[in-house]
C-alpha cells in the first residue's frame, strides 16, 4: 500500500497544449480517489503520469514519500486497468493473470496460488483456460482486474474500466470494484467521466476542468457544497438549475429576485453564505438542485416567498420520481463546458429559460400546464457571477 502525492504536476505536450496545470492532490494510503471531469479535462493524462506512461513536465509525483518522476513504470510497483482491458489476446486467462508475476521471477507455486485466489474472488475459475476472445465483456473486465490484483501492487490505477460495459453490467461491476478495493485496501486512483460512478465509488472525488483541479472532497460534500459553478453543474444529474438573480433586502431578511419572482432566502442563507451580505443590490448566480423543487400542491405548509410560477414543458416518468421540465419567467443560465478555466462568467449562456424539477411521483403536473413549484430555501446555492466561486462559508 502507498500514499500518493501529486505536487504541482503539469503536463505540456509538444504542440503547446497544457493537459494538466499544477495539480496538487494527496491520496492517502488505502484511499479510493476518483478523478472526474468532462472529456479532455486532463484526468487520464494525470493518471498516466502517475503510471509513468507519460513524462511529467513540471512538479513532482511522490509514492510513499519517494519522488518517482524518473522511475520506470515497471519499477513503480503500480498496476493499471485500462479502458480497453488490454488483455493479451494470444494468452489464456490464466497466463494473462500470471504474466507479470512470471516476469518478476515469482516462484511457480506462488503464481498458481495468487492466480487461483484472484480467480476465486472474481469467479473466473471456470474460464482460466479460455482466451480473452471467448469471454464476455464483463468477464474480460474481471480478468483485467485479476491481472492487477495478483501483482499485489502498492496502488491500482483504473482508467474508465467500466465504460465499455452495458448499463446493467456497469452497475454490477461498480459495486464489485468498490467491494474489492475495500477488502484489499489498496490505494486506488480511478478515472471516469461518469459523475454517478465517481459519486458511488470514491472515498473522495477530484473534479478537473481544462487540466485544473476544481475541487476535491468526499462525494456528499462535493454535491452539497460545490466550490464553484463548474462543480455545481457537473456533479448531479439532472444538473443543478442556475439562474441569474439580484440580492435585495426584504422585510424578513434578504431576498433573491429574478423576473417577477422573489425568494425570501432569509438570514439563514446569509449565515451559510457569509459572502451574500456583500451582494445586496448586486447580481449573484442562484443554484437550485432539481430535487429541491417540488409541486407546491404537495407541500401544504409552503412558506410565502418560496413558490415559483412555472409553465410545464415536459414530464418524464422515472418510476420512483418524476422529472418535470419547466419554463420560468426569467433567463436561466447554463454552464458551457468549453470555456476558459476559472473564467466562470464566460461559461454562462443566458439564453435558455428551462429548469428541471425532480418531483414526487404523486404530482399531477402535466405538459403545457401552468403550475406553482415550491423551492426548498434551505438548500439554495449562491455563486459569484464573475468568478463562479461559491459564496458558502468555507467554500
Amino acid at each position: 500500500m502507498a500514499a500518493i502525492v501529486l505536487d504541482g504536476i503539469t503536463k505540456r505536450f509538444g504542440d503547446g497544449t497544457t493537459a494538466v496545470r499544477e495539480l496538487d492532490l494527496s491520496i492517502a494510503d488505502g484511499e479510493l480517489m476518483v478523478l472526474v471531469g468532462p472529456s479532455g479535462c486532463g484526468k487520464t493524462t494525470a493518471l498516466r503520469m502517475v503510471a509513468g506512461l507519460e513524462e511529467v513536465t513540471g512538479g513532482t509525483i511522490l509514492i510513499d514519500g519517494q519522488p518517482v518522476n524518473d522511475t520506470e513504470p515497471r519499477d513503480r510497483d503500480i498496476a493499471m486497468v485500462f479502458q480497453s482491458y488490454a488483455l493479451y489476446p494470444h494468452l489464456s486467462v490464466y497466463d494473462n493473470m500470471a504474466f507479470s508475476l512470471k516476469y518478476r521471477k515469482t516462484p511457480r507455486a506462488e503464481i498458481r496460488r495468487r492466480v487461483g485466489e484472484a480467480a476465486r474472488i472474481l469467479e473466473l475459475e471456470p474460464f482460466l483456460a479460455r482466451k480473452p476472445r471467448q469471454l464476455s465483456g464483463g468477464q474480460r473486465q474481471r480478468v483485467a482486474m485479476g491481472r492487477a490484483i495478483v501483482r499485489q501492487p502498492r496502488a491500482f490505477l483504473m482508467d474508465e474500466p467500466l465504460s465499455n460495459l452495458d448499463a446493467k453490467l456497469r452497475v454490477q461491476m461498480r459495486a464489485e470494484i468498490a467491494r474489492l478495493q475495500r477488502s484489499l485496501g489498496v490505494t486506488t486512483i480511478y478515472v471516469t467521466h461518469d459523475q454517478t460512478e465517481a459519486m458511488t465509488l470514491g472515498n473522495r472525488v477530484a473534479v478537473l476542468q481544462h487540466g485544473v483541479l476544481q475541487q476535491v472532497a468526499p462525494p456528499q460534500k462535493l454535491y452539497k457544497r460545490p466550490a464553484n459553478l463548474f462543480v455545481a453543474s457537473f456533479i448531479g444529474s439532472p444538473a443543478m438549475n442556475l439562474l441569474e438573480a439580484t440580492v435585495e433586502r426584504g422585510d424578513g431578511g434578504p431576498q433573491v429576485c429574478f423576473g417577477t419572482h422573489r425568494l425570501a432566502v432569509g438570514e439563514r442563507a446569509v449565515r451559510e453564505h457569509p459572502g451574500l451580505g456583500g451582494y445586496l443590490g448586486r447580481k449573484v448566480i442562484l443554484g437550485i438542485r432539481p430535487e429541491h423543487l417540488e409541486d407546491a400542491t404537495l407541500v401544504p405548509d409552503a412558506a410565502p416567498g418560496s413558490v415559483l410560477d412555472v409553465q410545464v414543458e415536459l414530464r418524464e416518468e422515472l418510476g420512483s420520481e418524476v422529472d418535470v421540465h419547466c419554463r420560468v419567467g426569467v433567463d436561466p443560465l447554463h454552464p458551457v463546458a468549453d470555456g476558459e478555466p476559472g473564467d466562470a462568467a464566460e461559461e454562462i449562456e443566458p439564453l435558455a429559460a428551462a429548469i428541471v424539477a425532480r418531483m414526487d411521483p404523486r404530482t399531477t403536473l402535466a405538459e403545457s400546464q401552468s403550475a406553482k413549484v415550491h423551492v426548498d430555501l434551505a438548500a439554495l446555492h449562491f455563486f459569484d457571477p464573475e468568478t463562479g466561486a461559491s459564496l458558502r462559508a468555507g467554500g
Partner: protein, 276 residues
C-alpha cells in the same frame, strides 16, 4: 409471381456469366502450368511432334545439370535473406509504430520513399559497392542486396500492422514489468503472425523468382540459384525445351507450396489496416 421468376432468372444468368468469365480467366492462368507440365514429360522428338510422353527430360535434368545444387543455393539465399528482412522489418516496424522519438516520422518517410526506387536504377551502384567490398560472387553479397531491396516494403507492412495493435496492450505489458524489447518479443511479435506470413510469402516469391540480382552477383556456377541455372540452360546453343520445362516446374514448385501454406495469413496480412 412472374416478377419473382424474372428476378431468379436474371440472377441465374448473372451468376452463369460470372462463372463463365472466371472459367476463362482460370484457363488463361492455368494453361501455362499445364503446358509446362505436359511438355516436361516429353523428349525432344515428342516435343517437336507434340505427341507421346516420357520421363527422359527429368532424368536429364537431375543427372546432367546441377539442379540440386542450384535449389540448395536458392533455398539458402532465400531463407537467410527472409530471416534478415524479418529481423530488421519487425523491429523497425515496431519502433515506427509504437515508440515516440524525435524524427521518427521523417525516418519512416525515408523508408517509404525507398519503396519507390526501382531496382534497375540502383543495381549498378550496388554492384560497384559490393565489388569494392569484395562481395561479388559470394552468397553474402546477394543476400545483402535482397535484404536491402526487400526491407523497405516489409518495414512498411510491419509498421502498418503494429499500428493496428492497441497502444494499451503495449503499455499494459510495460506496466506488467516488461521493457520495450521484451514487450516486442512477448506481445507484439506473437500477435503479428499474419504480417510475418505475408512478408515471408511475398519476399520468398520475389527472391526465389529473381533473375537479375542472381545473374549479376552470382556468376560462379557453384553459387548459381535455380533461376540463373535455368537462364543459363536456355541461353545455350541448343536448348532442350522439355528439360527447361521440367526445370521451370521444379523452380515454381517451392513458391507455389509456400503460397498455399500461408495463403490464409496472406489474405489477412494484405487486408490489414482496412478496418476491424
Amino acid at each position: 409471381m412472374t416478377s419473382h421468376t424474372a428476378v431468379v432468372a436474371r440472377r441465374r444468368v448473372r451468376t452463369g456469366t460470372l462463372f463463365a468469365i472466371m472459367c476463362v480467366i482460370a484457363v488463361v492462368m492455368l494453361y501455362p502450368f499445364f503446358y509446362m507440365l505436359d511438355n516436361a514429360f516429353r523428349n525432344q522428338a515428342q516435343f517437336a511432334r507434340q505427341s507421346g510422353h516420357s520421363a527422359v527430360s527429368w532424368r536429364l535434368l537431375f543427372t546432367q545439370l546441377p539442379v540440386w545444387r542450384e535449389l540448395l543455393n536458392s533455398t539458402l539465399i532465400c531463407a537467410i535473406s527472409i530471416l534478415l528482412i524479418l529481423a530488421v522489418s519487425t523491429t523497425a516496424g515496431f519502433a515506427f509504430a509504437k515508440l515516440r522519438y524525435r524524427g521518427s516520422g521523417l525516418v519512416f518517410l525515408a523508408v517509404v520513399a525507398a519503396l519507390m526506387v526501382p531496382l534497375q536504377s540502383i543495381i549498378i551502384p550496388e554492384y560497384v559497392n559490393l565489388g569494392k567490398l569484395g562481395l561479388i560472387n559470394t552468397y553474402l553479397g546477394a543476400i545483402l542486396v535482397y535484404v536491402a531491396l526487400g526491407t523497405p516494403f516489409a518495414t512498411f507492412l510491419m509498421a502498418t500492422y503494429y499500428r493496428g495493435i492497441s497502444d494499451d496492450l503495449i503499455e499494459a505489458a510495460v506496466m506488467d514489468g516488461l521493457g520495450y524489447g521484451r514487450t516486442f518479443l512477448r506481445i507484439a511479435l506473437p500477435l503479428s503472425w499474419p504480417a510475418l506470413a505475408t512478408v515471408t510469402v511475398l519476399q520468398f516469391i520475389q527472391i526465389w523468382d529473381d533473375l537479375l540480382v542472381g545473374l549479376l552477383f552470382l556468376q560462379n556456377p557453384q553459387q548459381r540459384t535455380i533461376t540463373v541455372g535455368l537462364a543459363a540452360l536456355s541461353s545455350g546453343r541448343t536448348t532442350s525445351i522439355p528439360v527447361l520445362m521440367a526445370g521451370s516446374f521444379v523452380s515454381a514448385l517451392p513458391a507455389i507450396t509456400v503460397y498455399l501454406i500461408f495463403q490464409r495469413h496472406l489474405v489477412k496480412g494484405l487486408t490489414m489496416g482496412m478496418g476491424k
